[in-house]
C-alpha cells in the first residue's frame, strides 16, 4: 500500500507519456431480426450459435500479425459467445497502456503457439468440444426447409504463432486508448456467416436415369436406383420428418463436413468476411 502510494506520488511528478489501462472485456451477439439471406434465395434461421472467442490483441500499427509483437492492449483469455443473444456480458479484463490502437487480431478459441506443433484449444473451445463455432438452424426456400448443424474449428495452419483473424486494410478501426476507457464490447453477428453457403448444392431434383447413384433425391423423395438407372423404390423423407440431401438420401439434417462447400464458406466468413463490431465505453457513457 505504501509502495503504491509512493508510486502514485512519483507519477504525479514524473510524466511517462503513457499510463497503464485496464478495462472490461465484454462480448455480445446480435439478435436476428429476420431470416438471413443465403445464396440462390435461401433464407437462414438460426436456432443456436455459440462461438469461442479469444484471445484478442489491440495493436498500435495499421497491420496486426507479425507487426504486432508488441500489442497496446490484450485480453489473453477466451469465452463462449452466444451470438444470437444481444446482451453483453463480461469476459474478463483487457490490460495495456494508453495510446492509439489501429488494428486488432484474435482467434476463435484455438491458438497457435510458436512452441507447439499443433494449435491448442482454450477453455472456450473445449466447451464446444474443441470447436470454434457450433451453430444450428434451418434454411428455407420455396416451402422447403433444411435443418442444419455446423461445427467449425478454426485454427492457424499457415503462420504458426499468429492470430488467424486480423483487421484488414479495408476495415475501419481506430481508437486512442485512454484511462477513461471502461469497456470494450466485441459484438458478433452470425447472419452473414452462412451467406455464401450453397444450399442448392445440397438438394436435387433428379431421376435414376439422370444421376448414376444408388440414392437420388427428387425433391423430398428419396429414389432408390439400380446400377442400370432403373428406379427401384421411392421414400418420402417429409413423411418421416427428414430431408433428402444430395448423395445421402433421407437424413435428419444437414451436417457440413470439413472441407465441404458449406464448411469452407463459413470458415471464410469467420476469418475474412464480416467483422465483429468493436464498441467502446468510456467514463460518462450511459450504460
Amino acid at each position: 500500500m505504501r509502495r503504491s502510494l509512493f508510486a502514485v506520488l512519483l507519477a504525479a511528478c514524473v510524466d511517462t507519456g503513457q499510463e497503464p489501462v485496464s478495462f472490461a472485456m465484454r462480448v455480445a451477439g446480435t439478435a436476428p431480426a429476420a431470416p438471413a439471406p443465403a445464396l440462390n434465395g435461401w433464407e437462414i434461421t438460426l436456432d443456436s450459435a455459440r462461438l469461442a472467442f479469444g484471445p484478442l490483441y489491440l495493436c498500435p500499427g495499421f497491420q496486426a500479425g507479425s507487426l504486432c509483437d508488441t500489442a497496446r492492449a490484450e485480453w489473453v483469455d477466451s469465452a463462449v459467445v452466444d451470438v444470437l443473444d444481444p446482451a453483453t456480458y463480461d469476459a474478463g479484463t483487457v490490460e495495456g497502456s494508453t495510446g492509439p490502437v489501429r488494428s486488432w487480431m484474435f482467434d476463435y478459441g484455438v491458438v497457435s503457439l510458436l512452441t507447439q506443433q499443433q494449435p491448442v484449444a482454450l477453455a472456450a473451445a473445449q466447451r464446444l468440444d474443441g470447436n470454434s463455432l457450433r451453430l444450428s438452424g434451418s434454411a428455407r426456400k420455396g416451402g422447403r426447409e433444411l435443418p442444419f448443424a455446423l461445427d467449425v474449428r478454426i485454427q492457424q495452419v499457415v503462420e504458426g504463432g499468429a492470430s488467424i483473424v486480423r483487421k484488414s486494410d479495408t476495415d475501419t478501426f481506430s481508437h486512442d486508448l485512454a484511462v477513461g476507457d471502461t469497456a470494450l464490447t466485441v459484438r458478433f453477428d452470425a447472419r452473414p456467416w452462412l451467406r455464401d453457403v450453397d444450399f442448392d448444392a445440397l438438394v436435387e431434383m433428379g431421376t435414376c436415369a439422370s444421376v448414376a447413384r444408388p440414392k437420388v433425391c427428387a425433391g423430398d423423395l428419396e429414389l432408390s436406383c439400380s446400377d442400370t438407372g432403373v428406379e427401384l423404390s421411392q421414400r418420402s423423407c417429409t413423411a418421416e420428418r427428414l430431408v433428402c440431401l444430395r448423395g445421402l438420401g433421407c437424413t435428419d439434417r444437414v451436417r457440413f463436413q470439413a472441407g465441404s462447400q458449406g464448411d469452407q464458406a463459413v470458415r471464410n466468413a469467420l476469418t475474412g468476411g464480416t467483422r465483429p463490431a468493436f464498441e467502446w465505453t468510456t467514463q460518462g457513457d450511459v450504460p
Binding site: 509512493f6 500499427g61 497491420q63 508488441t70 489473453v76 497502456s97 510458436l114 507447439q116 504458426g160
Partner: protein
Amino acid sequence: MAVCCTLCVCAISAPAQAQAPARTAAPEVIERVDAVYPPQALEQRLEGTATLKVTIEADGRVGDIDVVESAGSLLDDAATKAMRQWRFQPATRGGEPTAAIVRVPFRFDLPAVERLDAGAPPPLDAGVAAPDAGGVSESAIDVTVRGERKLRNEDRGSSTFTVAKPVLEAAPRQEGAEVLRTVPGLYIARSEGLAVGHRYMLRGFDADHGQDIQFTVGGLPINQPSHLHGQGYADLGFLISESVEELTALEGVYDPRQGDFAVAGSIDVRLGMEQRGWAAKSSYGAFNSFRQLVSWAPEGQPNGTFGAAQYTRTDGFGQNRQGEAASAIIQAVLGTTGAWRHRLLGILYGARGSHAGVVRQDDVAAGRIGFYDVYPLATAQAQNALSGRIMLGLFSEYRGAEGSNAEAGVWLGLDDFRVQQNFTGFTQRSQALLNVAGRGDLIEQQNRTLSLGLMGRYRTRPYRPASWATANVELGLSGRVDSIDQAQNLLDAVVRRQTWDRRVDASVFGADVGFYGDVEWRLTKYLNVRVGARADVLYYDVNDRLGNFVPSVRPPDTFIVGYRRSALGLAAGPRASVEVKPIEGLSLRAAYGEGYRSPQARILDDGEAAPFSKVRSADLGVRIGRDDRLQITASGYFTHLSDDVAFDAEDGRLERIGQTRRVGAVVHAQTRPLAWLVGALSVTYVHAQLLERPPGSAQDPQPPYQPGQSLPYVPPVVVRADLGAKPTLVPHLWRWDLVGRAGVGFSYLSPRPLPYGAFADHVALADASVGLTWGPLDLGFEVYNLFNTRYAATELNFPSSWNPEGVRTRTPERHLIAGSPLSWWLTLGVSL
C-alpha cells in the same frame, strides 16, 4: 621541464627533562599527500622553501599550521593544503599519546631543463619541542616526499570531482568497479553475471553499458565503439580496487580532451598502490565465494609502479549465477627524475559467468517463479557470458621549460566477448529457415575487437601579455582504429546450441581521429578562463554479410546476400569554462561544451554522413572549501542530446528515441574532520525529458508521446553516502599499532519510469565493513546489502512469453534481474 618539490619532515627533539625521562616517541607519518606545484607559481617561476610548524594532536590529526618560513603565498598555500591531508601516528610519552610539533619544510624547486633532479632534500630541522609535553625526545622523522605539479588543469567545471583514496576506501567494495559509486550521481549495477559489464547511470543518463560515459583507466580507453552488446560497451570488471588510487569525474563535456562517449561525462581512473611491498589477501564469502589478491609494489618506486593479480569465483546468490574471473594489472613508471617520464601499463582479464536473466514481475507476484530463480527452461538456464581482454599502453610525459609540457602515448587492445541470453522467452521466428519458430529466444552475441590507438598533446609555456595575465595554449590529438567482427544468432538450448537463425554477421573497420585546441587564460588570481574546441572525424567501413537479406520473400537465386557500405562524418564543438575565485576557498564556475557519441556503425547507410548524437552541456555552480576538512560543491546543469537512445529488450539493442533534455542539480560534500574520519555525500536530481515524439515504425507508427514526458530508465534522484573511520585503537601493541577501520556506504536510486507507462521500484542499499590492521596482518569483515533488501539490479518493461504452453502475451510487462541479497566477505591479508 620536470619540476619537483622535495620536502622533509623533520624531527622533534625535546629538551632534556629534569625528571626521570619517560619513554617518548616522535610522531610518525601514516599518510602523506604530495604538494602540488601551483600552476601560477610555475608560470611565475616561483620557487623556494615553505617551512611549516605543525601541531600534531594527540589523536594524530594535523592541528595548527604556522608558516615559519614563507616561500610566497602561492607556495605557502600549496604546502599548507598538502599538510592538512597528512595523518600521523601521534607522539607518545610513557606510552600515552601526546601532542607534538613538527617542522616540515616543503621545498619547491623550479629546476631548469638541464637540472631536472630536484636535488637533495634540505637538511633536517631538529629541535622543535612539543608545546607542553616536553617529554618527546630523540627520534627524528625523516620523510622525503616528492611533490609534482600536474601537467594540466583537469578541473573544468563545477561538476568536476576528484575522489581520492580515503573516500574510495571508506565504504566496502565487492569488486573494483564499485569504487565508481563514489562519483556523485553515478549508480552502477551488475545484472548479467560476472562476465558482462556493469550498467551505469550518471546524472540523468541511463548509460547502459557505457554509451554515455567515457572511461579511461590509466590512460587506456575502455569504451568500445560499435560493440554488439551496446555502443560504447565498457567492462570495468578487470579493476582491482586496491590498485585504484584516484578517480576524476568530469560530469558534462567541457574539456577538449573528452572524446567519444563523453555525453554524460568522463571518468578517469588513476592506478597506483600506496602500500609498498608484497601483499596477499584471501577472502571467503557468502554463496561459496572466494577471492584471492596478490600484489607487489617495489619499495622506493613511485606509487604508480606495481603489479596486482586477482582471482574471484562464486556460486552466486541464486540459480544459475556462478562465475569466475581473473585479472592482472601491471604498471611501471620509469624515469622519475628526468624531463621524460614513461609509464608502461598492461591489463589482462578473463571471466566466464552464468546468469539467470530476467523474470517477469507478474510471475514473481503470482508465485510462479522465485525472485532469485531462473525459469526452469533450457533456454533460460543456458544463459552465460564470456569475456576476455588484454590492453597494453605506453605513455610518456615530457616536462619542458617554464611549464611547457607534452604527453604521448600508444596503446593496443584486444577484446573478446560472447554472451548468450534470453530476454523474451519464446517470441522469435527464424528469418532464415522457413516455418522454424519457437525454439527459444536465446540470443548469442559475439564481438571481437582489435584496437590500436595513440594520443598526444603539447602545452606551451605561458604567454604573458601583461603582468596580470598569462595564457597557455594546448594542442592535442587522439586517434584509434578498431577492427570489429560481430555476429548475432539464435540458438536452440535443447539441441546442443543449434543455430536456428542468423541475425548479424558483420565486420566493421572504424577509425576516429580527433584534434583539439585549448587556451587557458589566467587573468589575475581571481579569474580563470578556458576556451577550446574539438573536432573528430569518424570513418566506417562495414561489411554486413547479412545485408539485403529478405526473409522468405525473394528466391535465393535472385541476388547474393550482403551489403558493404562506408560512411564518414565530422563532429565538432566548442568547450569553454570560467572560474571566478573572489575569495580564498570560494570558487564560482560556469562551463559550456558540445560533445558527441559515435553511432553504431551497422545502422549507417552507404555514404551517410554519420548521424552523431550531439550533446550540448552547460554547468553553473559553486565550490566552497579551503582544504579537505570540508568541501562542498553545488551545481546546476543542463544537457541537450540530439539523438538519444534507449535499450530495447525485444531486439537486445539500443533504439533511437529522439531529442532529449536533462536539467538537474548536484550537491556534493566531502569532509575529513579528523585525520582518521572521512565522509562524502552526494545528492543528484534530474528532470530528464523527451523533447519529441519517438520515430514511428511499422509496428508503432504513432508512438504515444506527451511533450516533456520523462525519459525511461532515468532515476530522478540518486543519493550516495560514504563514511569511513580508521582510528588507531591501540598504539604500539607489541611492535605495531592496532588500527581499526569501519565503513558504511549507502546508495539510493529513486523509482524510475520505464517504457509503456510503468515504474521501477526504488533501490536503497547499505553496505558496511569493519576491520583491524596490525602490522603486516589485516582482518576484515564486510556485509553487502546490510538490510537484505530485495531489489532489482535492472528493471525493464517489454513483452515476453515465458510460458511455452500458454497463450502468448504481447503487452509489455515489468521484468527484473535480481540484485544480490545480503552477502558477506571475510578477508585475511598479509603484507610484507
